[in-house]
């Protein structure tokens, strides 16, 4: 099987979508640049022309709104926001317009727009060049939100998003761009709303999104080395999310860790935890743990960044916490199954 990086997989999806559907065009900042959105759009303008690959004015609002207007009248635009932070200038078209349009007009028209929001953080970029806002957009009815963590899903979910017929926010994280994986050369879709079980296990369920799903793959290796048998679910779709898959897993393991590299309050993890508490409370053998960013803006200085961001080691620690024996689970005594572990990013 052929291997591609995550960035190459996105690029291939865009090329195949443009080749197969004349309604598709790409609109956003930096699309004619070889580096502005990583290599995900590199030279596509040369192949398909600058009418279909439009490097936009510095107008997130008008760019997104125009794409939505074009989608309402039958086009299939992909809007690219090289930084999710800047996309906040376009919240009206995304939330008030695209997400509500089908409902406001009783399903007589859809808004087949893909809003590609890139998380681009680390490297001392600080608070306005770092945000991961999936929880904010998960809150909105009428909007679908996907977050692939592998090259295979990066391609398949982008194609599914464009073909969906509804507004889909496609969130990719630049920390994943160099990940490699098997990617079939043909066009294929990954169904929106379906999670992937990355590892079957019985001791604990780990649900992770995007970058944290990639980190969780490392974490489960460490856990397995220590004789722990976790189940890992890569959520892939944030909205709708695969409730059945997660519920089924938690009912089996009785323990849950949710990892999402975004703020904890009202985030993706909060929604999953709330759902499990409501629907599988009796199956829980221990309190649930969340691995999220603290409710703090992204810092700049490197030592602060190191304290802020989370990774595989944090997942391992969280699993340790929830793996206490049932008889001790609801006490506050500390407990450690794994005395030492080292994980490199």
């Amino acid at each position: 099987m052929r291997m591609l990086t995550y960035a190459e997989a996105i690029r291939e999806a865009v090329v195949q979508l443009l080749s197969s559907d004349p309604r598709v065009f790409v609109f956003g900042q930096g699309l004619w640049s070889p580096w502005y959105v990583g290599t995900t759009m590199k030279n596509i303008d040369k192949e398909f022309g600058r009418q279909r690959i439009m490097d936009s004015p510095v107008s997130e609002n008008a760019t997104t709104g125009a794409a939505i207007g074009a989608a309402i009248v039958g086009m299939r635009p992909i809007v690219v926001h090289p930084r999710m932070d800047f996309m906040l200038l376009a919240v009206d078209p995304i939330v008030n317009q695209a997400a509500n349009w089908s409902y406001m007009f009783a399903g007589q028209v859809g808004v087949p727009v893909v809003i590609r929001a890139i998380i681009n953080r680390g490297g001392e970029q600080a608070a306005q060049h770092s945000q991961a806002l999936q929880g904010t957009f998960m809150h909105i009815p009428g909007l679908k939100v996907v977050m692939p963590s592998t090259p295979y899903d990066a391609k398949g979910l982008l194609i599914a998003a464009v073909q969906d017929g509804n507004p889909v926010m496609y969130i990719d994280d630049r920390w994943l761009y160099e990940e490699t994986g098997e990617v079939p050369p043909e066009m294929y879709t990954v169904p929106i709303g379906s999670a992937a079980v990355r590892r079957r296990g019985s001791a604990v369920t780990i649900v992770a999104t995007s970058y944290m799903a990639a980190q969780a793959v490392k974490a489960v290796d460490v856990l397995a080395e220590h004789g722990i048998d976790p189940e890992l679910i890569d959520l892939r779709s944030i909205k709708p999310w695969d409730r059945e898959r997660v519920l089924e897993s938690v009912r089996k393991t009785g323990r849950l860790v949710v990892a999402d590299a975004a703020w904890q309050t009202c985030g993706v993890a909060a929604e999953i935890v709330a759902t499990i508490s409501c629907e599988a409370f009796k199956d829980l053998l221990a309190p649930i743990a969340r691995v999220c960013l603290p409710d703090v803006p992204a810092p700049m200085s490197e030592p602060l960044e190191k304290a802020y961001y989370i990774g595989a080691a944090d997942i391992v620690s969280a699993v340790e916490k929830v793996l206490v024996p049932k008889e001790q689970a609801w006490s506050t005594k500390s407990h450690s199954l794994i005395q030492e572990h080292t994980i490199s990013d």
Binding site: M54, A62, G65, A66, Q97, V111
Partner: protein, 334 residues
């Protein structure tokens, strides 16, 4: 402001058609005002009475397949573009047979068969959407143009300026029609902007900006026809500032509740510029007798009466459908 155009260039049939459209809007709005007052209609209704010449003159210069986007005060746009009156009345009543299935009400109108893919009340929100439908038409190589209707308040939003720039840079076939009625809700124009110069915003974005008498349907028609010509041949967008006045309050049937006594004097001046009466005078001068005009009025009233009857007889959406249509499904569309 350019002087009124020579009305002799416009055929009597077209003038009669515009008169008919304006009266249909006027009578519809008067009926809605009464229905709101009687609490039979409960959703917020922003009435178009006094502004009929703008929608009518603009839409008379468009083809059926041209796109039109509107805002919270769009009953007139919908009728002038050819939307079905029964479906709009039923929508205002919140009924299943409404143009938006009873999920939108007065502020959300939909008539894709005549190029209206949505009017929504978020001020200025449809301006970038209009740029998008113009972009779609350009990418597809179609000849159709897009009209974006919005009020003077919308020109204070960032959407407006970003959209004007975008339309100019890509030379998109879009006509920005600002209906300057001098009030945004309760607040007068000069309490919100330093100068009464909306049309000059076009110049700042390299777009031709024209200020016209929005109560003169022929002037509006002619200016729109010029702008449509520029749009269709690829020259690009135009900004039309149509100066007009809403007779009623910002929302609902009251005459001056929003802005108090000061507006009463102004209103008197604007009532004298009644756009509908101006057309009837023109027609009368052309030898159309009063009985013909009265017949047009009777027909408009009858159509409105039928629309109310249709709405009253129509069912409400069933509560079991509450969660339907959050997502679009091609299967759902009949």
């Amino acid at each position: 402001m350019p002087t009124a155009i020579d009305s002799s260039n416009v055929g009597t049939d077209l003038l009669l058609e515009m008169y008919r459209t304006m009266l249909r809007i006027r009578r519809f709005e008067e009926e809605v005002a009464d229905l709101v007052e009687a609490s039979e209609v409960k959703c917020p209704c922003h009435l178009y009475i006094g502004q009929e010449a703008v929608a009518t003159g603009v839409c008379a210069a468009l083809d059926k397949e041209d796109y039109v986007w509107g805002g919270h005060r769009s009953h007139g746009h919908y009728l002038a573009k050819g939307g079905n009156m029964d479906a709009m009345m039923a929508e205002v009543f919140g009924r299943l047979t409404g143009c938006s299935g009873g999920r939108g009400g007065s502020m959300h109108l939909f008539a894709p068969e005549v190029g209206i893919f949505g009017t929504v009340p978020l001020v200025s929100a449809t301006i970038p959407l209009a740029v998008g439908s113009a972009l779609a038409a350009k990418l597809r190589g179609e000849r159709r143009v897009t009209v974006s209707f919005f009020g003077d308040g919308a020109t204070e939003e960032g959407h407006f300026h970003e959209s004007m720039n975008m339309a100019a840079v890509y030379r998109l076939p879009v006509i920005f029609v600002c209906e300057n009625n001098f009030y945004s809700s309760h607040l007068g124009l000069l309490e919100r902007r330093a100068e009464d110069n909306i049309y000059q915003a076009g110049e700042a974005h390299a777009i031709s900006g024209v200020r016209i008498d929005g109560n003169d349907v022929l002037t509006v028609y002619k200016a729109t026809a010029d702008a449509v010509g520029l749009a269709r041949c690829g020259v690009g967008p135009t900004l039309l500032e149509c100066r007009t006045y809403r007779w009623r309050g910002h929302v609902g049937p009251s005459w001056d509740m929003d802005v108090g006594v000061k507006r009463k004097d102004e209103l008197k001046d604007w009532l004298a510029k009644d756009p509908v009466a101006r057309v009837s005078t023109l027609l009368f001068d052309r030898g159309i007798d009063e009985s013909r005009l009265a017949q047009i009025d009777r027909a408009a009233r009858a159509e409105v009466g039928n629309a109310v009857a249709f709405a009253r007889e129509s069912p409400y959406p069933d509560k079991s459908t509450l969660a339907e249509h959050v997502f679009y499904s091609e299967k759902e569309v009949c």
